[in-house]
Symmetry: C2
């Protein structure tokens, strides 16, 4: 039986993480561009160290992650969520510790808050301007007049503009290699164009940062880009498999659960892994193949054909034959262990404070990777 | 500004919790039935103490909760998720500490695992049999022959049958006072009928446990029931408001967030509270009024008409005018604080390791309530 003794828990296959990290590392090296991995998926030191073979530049989604990694010796950190003015004190405390923390912004209001802070504290907070490359979430468009206005406010106020950053969230909704390459080129072109406009306006823009797991893998030309951020690829998940950038065999994270009974009419199996263990993410519901709350495998990691996690309450998972599939429910007795492959590895990982890690499939758990929690 | 200095955080209004607890307590006292509150929503000591005015019987959803409450002096605990055989060791360790922990089961296979454990360890593990009152999740139906078979296996093996338990999950989908009363009566009748069958078969069934927040509030007769479990009512949420058992003003939990910018076309506001802070629960999507990922209020708790959280990524919330409503997006500048009322308080609370607590609206945060985490 897979250790530990009790379920549910988050299980990681270290060999798969290494393979995923190596694959993207080789691709990006071939394109001549540096990596600044986004640690928001694992929030753990061990897989992050694999990317650089030690300490290197990273991207974080919370200041708690920044502090966790700073404690472990990381000194070059991009906080890649638009800065809330109330967080500047904590940013400055991290910088005072010797961490070169870069913040992100995309409004004149944020730039004004930053320079007010700089004026008061004499701190030259470095910043990137977020660029909107696909109209999906945040950022200023490359041709938006506000791009230069923000740069001017920062320059006049003594903050340090370092360049631009964009995230092609639209890549999660591209489903062919051609479409993915097109999104990657759109992402690159938007960031490079914005950096060019800044430089033409007399502003420094040494950093041109792009990234998402699909575009990082699909890009075939990153001319003008200085660094690539990708996060979920260390574990991969069913959304990424649906996008086509990995296979089910690449997914390095799963939730181990125990069968505890059957649902009404014996039409489903109940497990002890509810949404507290897997999350309620339904990211594949918009893809060609809906995987509901996750694909079910045996304890040894073999996919059980057409068995999916169709429902969850807080501490109950519901497994059933995929709607429409003509199969009988497999006879998994009470006490049987199964694994649930994650829909969205960031969301599933976020439900756990650590990972149980096996060196490779078939071996026992021998490591425990702690995660940075909270904010 | 609401303390603490940084967002996001989970804010609790203690006065509202007290009001919610008092309301249900008075109702159940008037029906002459005891309470065994389900602590899975708050997983915190302070609101649980309010129910009994001190230590009393509780229901838990994980053994981690059982241990957390046992550490605080709780000794009468029902673990209300069907037992996985691999957890019996830990159950026995809790019992050896002096905690009267009762387990739950609904299959012969679980009963056999329990008696095998009893035979090996000489432990008379007390158990309830889970009854299915509405065909929604788990349990044996009251007339199912397996009910008496499970009781016989337990009796023959020296385990201690304590009675029956049911949870009317269907009450979440009843939307009128009449429908709710009908579900409450169905829940009561199923549990009482199962207990009667056990007693007629010569088995003890001193405990007849029912509960869900909607049925606990709707029940007008609980004859034959010995205890009621309810959980989410301490905080309430938008699903419960949609069911009609509370109003928005009763909701005691919210997530405080900061505006960090605007989305594409200035059609949305972005905040620093993504699904890590609010959860991705979409429980109101099947109700008459879809509240998306949450209703937005001012920092002072006043509902901002037709502003809802329509989307989330890991650390970004997206606020927009309710689809179909003819309003302009309110002008909330960068740095403005808002609150998000939870769709499902259990899920939102589960994203936090503690609550920041104010005595009542308008007062600063003065308490911190810790939560039991993990499993």
């Amino acid at each position: 039986m897979t250790t530990p003794a009790e379920t549910p828990f988050a299980l990681v296959d270290r060999a798969k993480v290494e393979r995923n990290v190596t694959r993207l590392g080789e691709h990006l090296r071939s394109l001549g561009v540096a990596q600044r991995p986004h640690v928001k998926t694992s929030k753990a030191l061990e897989p992050t160290r694999m990317v650089h073979g030690g300490i290197g530049p990273i991207t974080v989604s919370t200041l708690a992650e920044a502090e966790f990694f700073a404690d472990a010796g990381y000194t070059d950190i991009l906080y890649a969520v638009g800065i809330a003015p109330g967080k500047l004190d904590r940013v400055a405390r991290l910088r005072a510790r010797g961490v070169d923390l870069t913040i992100l912004l995309d409004t004149v209001a944020q730039a004004e808050a930053v320079i007010a802070f700089v004026a008061e504290h004499g701190e030259g907070l470095p910043a990137l301007i977020e660029i909107d490359s696909d109209g999906r979430r945040a950022g200023v468009e490359p041709e938006d007049p506000r791009l230069l206005e923000i740069a001017r406010v920062l320059a006049d106020g003594g903050a340090q503009l370092r360049g631009v950053m964009t995230h092609a969230g639209g890549s999660y909704f591209a489903y062919t290699p051609e479409a993915l390459r097109a999104v990657a080129e759109q992402e690159r072109a938007a960031a490079v164009r914005a950096a060019t406009r800044l430089r033409e306006g007399g502003h420094p823009a040494p950093v041109v940062s792009v990234g998402s797991t699909p575009t990082a893998h699909a890009a075939s030309d990153l001319t003008g880009v200085t660094e690539v951020r990708a996060g979920v690829y260390v574990f991969f998940d069913l959304v990424m498999a649906g996008v086509g950038v990995c296979t089910l065999e690449d997914i390095a994270l799963s939730v181990v659960a125990t069968v505890i009974g059957r649902g009404p009419g014996d039409a489903s199996l109940l497990t002890d892994a509810g949404w507290t263990a897997t999350s309620n993410d339904r990211g594949t519901s918009v893809q060609a193949v809906d995987q509901y709350l996750g694909v079910v495998t045996t304890e040894a990691g073999e996919v059980i054909e057409d068995l999916v996690m169709v429902g969850a309450s807080q501490e109950h998972g519901v497994l059933a034959v995929r709607p429409g599939a003509k199969r009988r429910l497999p006879d998994l007795p009470v006490g049987t262990r199964v694994r649930i492959l994650p829909i969205h590895a960031c969301a599933t990982a976020s439900q756990h404070d650590h990972f149980e890690v096996m060196a490779r499939e078939g071996e026992p758990v021998t490591e425990r990777w702690e995660r940075a929690g909270g904010w």
